[in-house]
């Protein structure tokens, strides 16, 4: 034997490796997102399918482009860019013009990721950077909602979807009127609550029979995806839990003070993009702190800030900015919450 086939390889210990890799994590996040995408397509129709395809393809193409420009090996294979593409589409209104979605995807990858040096170096969640950009650039289009379950959703597109590049989207009001079923409204539950004090029933929020961003409507499906990931240990359960807890901690006292004006905590949790943000975006590993206590601070901060923006700010939804701010301060949180090392736990 020995002299024969034994070619030895010199490596540093440890010589064993847990099988889970970055690709595995990212791939599983994509799996968890697929049901959310499926529901979004089912609820809003072909337009959302096109939206998903557009953002994902543009994200992949931009990633390839930036990797080439920076002379880096292509990182398309690590799946993270697919997550960015899918998440971005899920945060946009269903009838968002495709050309604007493409702009968002390009900005997400360029400004949100490539500029910082690619996966692992980005400070903020790329998908949210892209969305924040189009929110600022096209404030009208990004607040144009369409109701779900319109009868024509699988046979025709929402008229704004195929807007020519650089032109204004067609108004969708007439189209909604033609297609309308009485029960559904184009206003989002958050807007209804904020401006008209109409609270949408919890059952609708859970199942997603409401207007809103493509992927945020069904809290239930998002939650299932989160549970899947948490069970596979590919998601830090503390982040979604912390975000939701933070939201409750702020909204509960407000609701107790003035139930007529402020929404109840359950509504706060289930409406808008809070669930999607808590499960899939705040929990993005790159943007969250590494230390256990830091994770709690970060998550509670996002949850609390979301509700503060919603209740006291000019915007109806605050998840996006809350998460982006959380991302920005997370290195700081990591730094000040260094774990107390073994043998020094008791000391100050």
């Amino acid at each position: 034997m020995a002299e024969g086939g034994l070619t030895t390889d010199l490596r540093s210990s440890p010589h064993l490796k847990q099988a889970t890799t970055v690709e595995d994590i990212m791939r599983n996040v994509v799996y968890a997102l697929l049901p959310v995408c499926a529901w979004a397509i089912y609820a809003f129709g072909l337009s959302v399918l096109l939206l998903l395809v557009t953002t994902t393809l543009v994200c992949i193409a931009s990633e390839a482009l930036f990797c080439r420009l920076a002379n880096r090996p292509s990182t398309i294979g690590d799946w993270s860019i697919v997550i960015t593409g899918l998440l971005l589409a899920l945060t946009l209104p269903p009838g968002f013009p495709l050309w604007m979605a493409a702009v968002a995807a390009f900005v997400a990858v360029g400004l949100g990721k490539a500029l910082f040096g690619g996966l692992g170096y980005n400070v903020m969640n790329p998908a949210l950077v892209g969305r924040a950009f189009v929110q600022a650039a096209f404030p009208v289009a990004i607040t144009t909602w369409t109701p779900p379950f319109l009868p024509g959703r699988f046979s025709e597109l929402i008229p704004s979807t195929l807007t020519l590049p650089f032109t204004k989207p067609e108004p969708v009001v007439d189209w909604i009127e033609q297609n309308r079923i009485d029960a559904f409204t184009g206003a989002t539950p958050l807007a209804l609550q904020k401006f008209e004090q109409i609270t949408t029933p919890v059952a609708d929020l859970l199942t997603g029979t409401i207007a809103g961003s493509a992927g945020e409507t069904s809290a239930l499906i998002i939650l299932l995806g989160g549970i899947y990931l948490a069970a596979r240990k590919m998601l830090d359960w503390r982040i979604p839990v912390g975000v939701l807890l933070g939201a409750v901690l702020v909204s509960l006292p407000m609701w107790l003070l003035d139930a007529g004006r402020y929404p109840d905590p359950l509504f706060v949790l289930l409406s808008g993009g809070l669930m999607l943000g808590a499960v899939f975006m705040a929990s993005d590993m790159v943007g969250s702190p590494v230390t256990p206590s830091g994770v709690w601070i970060y998550a509670l901060f996002i949850g609390a800030l979301t509700v503060i923006i919603r209740l006291f700010g000019g915007l109806t939804e605050g998840v996006m900015y809350a998460i982006l701010l959380g991302n920005v301060i997370s290195p700081l949180i990591s730094r000040v919450t260094q774990p107390r090392i073994f043998g020094e736990e008791g000391k100050r």
Partner: protein, 443 residues
Amino acid sequence: MFGLSTFKHGVHPREYKELSNQLPIRRLPFAPTLVLPLSQHAGKPSVPLVQPGQEVVRGQPIAAADGFMSVPLHAPATGRIKRIELMPTARGPKTDSFILEVYQGSNQQHSYDNPQDLAKLQGKDIVQLVQDAGMVGLGGAAFPTHVKMTPPPEHQVDTLVANGCECEPYLTCDHRIMLEQPEQLIQGTRLIMRALGVERAIIGIEDNKLDAVKAISELLPAHDPITVQAVETKYPQGAEKMLIKSVLGRSVPPGSFPSAVGVSVFNVGTLAQIGELLPHGRGVIERVVTVSGPGVEHPGNYLVPVGTPVRFLLEHAGVTSGAHEVILGGPMMGMSVSALDVPVTKAMSGMVVLEQNDPDLHKQQAHPCIRCGWCVEACPMQLNPSMLGMLAASSDYDEMANDYHLNDCFECGSCSYVCPSNIPLVQYFRIAKSVLRERAEVA
């Protein structure tokens, strides 16, 4: 398992103990040539007592201790010293070694007995006998045992902890020793307790070796000062500080020895050898070595003379055609070797041969850190390997040591093991430590 006492963090690699833990210890034939480094222990190398060309008898002391931080060396076989020359060893650079040609005709009788009346031995005598036996920590640290038995006077040691965790995957030699030599283990433990003057001893064993727990407990009378305690099977349970935390709940402060919290820790293999050798006044000349891994045809625990070349051991255990990497020690902390001529030393507990396509052995390119925090959750010292890794990448070694406790890392490998980005964190830390050491020496 819930409810078992344990430490925070750590990892759960697959154990692979089933490859060898059911097989009794077997004795291997003597290799034709033994290689005996003069430095098989931490501390000063021993001083040769014999000349090249001289014949030696099995058990005869052939090198003497050079001061307190040193131990003697005994001839593992009857034969002739061919020469003393620089030979490669598993750890670090080449060192002076005896090359011993074994007489194949010899019956290899042990003829250097110096029987002791155990009842009469004082603590001091035991310490001396342990040093004379050339005893070192057989778990891998190779720290001279008698030094551990002499804690600094400012520390009051009240408990002896016997380390039967064997948390490294694949390794089962301690497990087999506990099953096959429980009497010797208890004997050795009582002797050291007497030397240390402690009233209590706890044998900590991971709960994947409950048969060993049973075997030892059965031999202990009720209310014996020695107790056996099962601890959670988790890597690195066998690290001194972790085990003390698990069985006693005491935390050894950073940079301190266990004696700072009143504990002395000994490997069960060491204790069993002491129990075996001390009554006869013999020296350490052989040990049990686990040879295992997917690349080994006949995994098992082999009793071999110290100095047996690794190659000889592998030839007897058989190596598969896919064998690719030979690791001395366990796969988490051991080192891979290229030269198979290195010998088995006193502290070598096993060797693991991995195959090229081993599923656990990922050799993909490293990704950038995605800050998943898994390493932080894994580090038993509760350091922040993620931050340390980033600092290492930018060569901020001083910051690593000053602000992030680099020197408290004992290189258990948990962080590298869990890292989904395949970042060789432990390797970074080793480099950082050695750079800092060099700088300190220059300054």
